[in-house]
Amino acid sequence: MVGAACAYYAGLAGLSVTVVDRGAVAGGTTGAGEGNLLVSDKEPGPELELALLSARLWRELAKSLPPRIEYETKGGLVVASGPAGMAALRDFAAGQERAGVEAHEITPDRLTDLEPHLAPDLAGGFHYPQDAQVQPALAAAHLLRASDAQVRLGAEVTSLLAGPDGRVTGVRTATGVLHAPHVVNAAGVWGGELARRAGSDLPVLPRRGFVLVTEPLPRVVRHKVYAADYVADVANGSAALQTSAVVEGTAAGPVLIGASRERVGFDRGLSTEVLRRLAAQATALFPVLAGVRAIRTYAGFRPYLPDHLPAIGPDPHVPGLLHACGHEGAGIGLAPATGLLVAQLLTGEQPHMDIGPFHPRRFEASRGTRSGPHLS
């Protein structure tokens, strides 16, 4: 998704772009996640700013891309089970409102107006009308096609080409070389590996998530509905398993229940404990789902960076290399803003927002010695 967005905005800026992927379009994490474009789960700060910019850009993109990307501004509904949770939600929303987020408190008696099948005993919630969604694989494929970039699939980048001064001059792939004065690393969870192949370093780690998919249903869930604990899980960096179900209906009928978070490397093995928790939380929110069948579950690996912010900007050691990866559980939502910023950096334009908090050099201090041809 991120690579497609970079290609799209770089193309708009007049650059000629080639997208190289070792696999297929949307074959990475983009094809293994959900397509929530959320502002509701972000606390005030740089990520929220990026999300708000992205939300605007997604609205524009949705006008020019075909309806098949399933863009829908369905809104989010965050619910609390008790008064303490409700109070915490209220504080959180107040901060967000100051940062430009729209949030409306929903009293318990009005919850079922928004979601008729919600459990009856909840303490209330907040409605976030800016939350939207897309079908991520289709969104990436259509955005890439709209970009007019050249696309080379099945071509793995094995190393970067560099001139005598160390500046990047292109990439070497399994099927040949490609020359370009700029290379953007949008390799998602494999962004750390690509950085190493370029002679640099980036601490991207996989954070596994499972999604449960039900049989197709008539619309029983209208918004993205989740319990207040979700926000805490997103912000938590622990390797241990966290689950807080986000429940949503899709245009095609199935209800998606996602997603767990745990750092277990690239292990795809099914965890029944994850499924149990997701199912228990989803059925606690929507008791009608208890009799509904899950027909599928899949795991994906979020590209995680230790401070939960993506890496966007120039590599501190390899001139000509830019990073655009590490978006963890928000890469679909944050892709357009990332693409726009990357295009602005490439053309030397003033970026739309300060990239300081996302700059890849922020990992320098915490790192010890580094090996690589470009160490100076």
Partner: protein
């Protein structure tokens, strides 16, 4: 007593077809405690299907060969202390801490409330069989088009005919069996349309000569067909179905050696049903979720890679029957028994068992039948030209109504390169059947070649659909519960 100290079973066998039954019985006779699970309400699997008792049918005649062998297995099962867990749909198997496996099933789907069941065991025997491969063609979704295997299964278990005038088409030895069953049950079979040429078997005279049983079986089907005046058309395929409410006729075209329809050879055959199938595809959902390695088969699908004693690449997990490659009922029984000996040898520390006279006989028999199965598979492998009989508006994925044109567009215009990315961009395979019906066809179209072997098997961590309520109650699986209890049960050897 459930819920008390949970001593695992020695062996959990998943699937009570020929392979699973033979394995379970033999393991029990070696002194192992065995749990035998099957989704169906009866033992016997695909081959030994019986009319549901409620139908009150007399003992069915024609479809049941090998009755004696099956009766033998059934008697040995009754004599053992195995209480088969029927109606148990296994949705996942996971490794537990320690040296055991947890088999997760859901049961009670037929009437009472569904509930989770967990069975723990020190070794696993996967004997989940195979399902029929379908290759689409224009009109294959018209009512009256049924799977060839499905038609036979219907006949065996319910004694119903799919129509009165039934064309049988596709590829594989099963077609002859299906046609003779249909004819014997009173249907008129105007033609058996086989895409490959049987002559190709002759290329493997050794395998054939070593399998007199197979030849005899083919001869029985052949003479039954002659008796019923059924025409066998080889190197031909049904390339279109006519009728909207119901099948009225089919178009049969000659094929060249690459399975491309030969222009000008179309002929219309009136009929009211079509039974069609292109061989069987091993059912590997549970195995691939466990990480078991697979191998390509000569008929362009994938089967489990097994060692000489039926063990998969995952230590502690064995497999027998169609999961290791489609080969018929006798091979399945042989492999099941061999696997049981290997499991007993491992768990009881008796390596000599696998070198015993019995084991050597079983291995020889297995090797001979496997060689034959491979020869047969090679003869019936889909030719790359089959995609030529598709039109852009032919449905490939019936659940999500995805057409050939939609899939081709995803590949050429949007960068899909395999079944998974085609699915993501078109929804082909995302519906109720999860690609179990259309997967083979989608993989071929994605690779843009008819005979391409998929490079990996689909991952379906949920082997069968599971109600969310059942998943949510999983942690109660350790608690006590009786069969009628709506809470989960954890079965231990003393339960069963």
């Amino acid at each position: 007593m459930p819920g008390s100290a949970t001593e695992p079973y020695d062996l959990a066998v998943i699937g009570a077809g020929c392979a699973g039954l033979a394995g379970a019985v033999a393991a029990s006779e070696q002194g192992l405690t065995v749990a035998l699970l099957d989704a169906s309400a009866q033992i016997g699997g695909q081959f030994h299907r019986h009319p549901a008792p409620a139908l009150g049918a007399a003992r069915p005649r024609a479809p049941h060969h090998d009755e004696a062998a099956f009766d033998g297995l059934r008697r040995r099962l009754e004599a053992s202390d195995i209480a088969p867990l029927l109606g148990h749909h296994v949705w996942s198997v996971v490794r537990e801490s320690g040296e055991s496996w947890a088999v997760h099933a859901t049961t009670g789907a037929d009437g009472e409330e569904e509930r989770p069941v967990r069975v723990r065991a020190r070794a696993l025997l996967l004997a989940t069989g195979a399902s029929e491969r379908q290759l689409p063609f224009p009109g294959w979704t018209v009512p009256g088009v049924v799977g060839a295997g499905g038609a036979q299964a219907m006949l065996k278990s319910g004694l119903v005919l799919p129509g009165r005038r039934v064309v049988v088409a596709g590829s594989g030895p099963l077609l002859l069996a299906v046609a003779s069953s249909l004819a014997a049950a009173g249907a008129r079979v105007p033609a058996v349309v086989e895409a490959s040429g049987y002559l190709r078997y002759a290329r493997h005279p050794h395998a054939l000569a070593a399998n007199p049983g197979k030849l005899a079986e083919a001869a029985v089907h052949g003479s039954a067909l002659l008796r019923h005046r059924v025409r066998l058309r080889t190197r031909s395929a049904v390339t279109a179905v006519h009728g909207t409410e119901r099948v009225e006729a089919v178009t049969v075209s000659r094929l060249d050696t690459r399975w491309r329809p030969v222009p000008g050879t179309d002929r219309r055959v009136p009929c009211d049903a079509l039974a069609v199938g292109h061989g069987l595809v091993p059912q590997l959902d549970l195995a691939t979720s466990l990480g078991c390695a697979t191998r390509p088969t000569p008929d362009a699908t994938r089967a489990l890679a097994l060692d000489d004693l039926q063990e998969t690449s995952v230590p502690g997990v064995w497999s027998a029957g169609e999961t290791g490659g489609v080969g018929g009922a006798q091979l399945a029984c042989t492999e099941g028994e061999l696997a049981a000996l290997a499991v007993a040898a491992r768990l009881r520390g008796r390596p000599a068992l696998t070198g015993s006279r019995r084991a050597l006989t079983l291995r020889r028999r297995r090797d001979r039948m496997r060689a034959f199965a491979d020869a047969m598979a090679a003869a019936h492998a889909p030719g790359p030209g089959w995609t030529r009989w598709l039109t852009d508006d032919t449905d490939v994925c019936r659940c999500e109504e995805v057409t050939v044109g939609g899939i081709r567009e995803a590949v050429t215009d949007f960068g899909a390169r395999d079944a998974r990315t085609v699915k993501l961009l078109t929804r082909a395979g995302m519906g109720w059947c999860q690609g179990r019906v259309c997967g083979a066809a989608v993989a071929c179209l994605a690779a843009d070649g008819g005979g391409a072997v998929p490079s990996s098997t689909d991952r379906r961590p949920l082997a069968v659909p599971v109600p969310l309520g059942v998943l949510a109650a999983l942690d109660e699986a350790g608690e006590a519960g009786e069969p009628g209890d709506t809470r989960a049960r954890c079965l231990t050897p003393r339960d069963a």
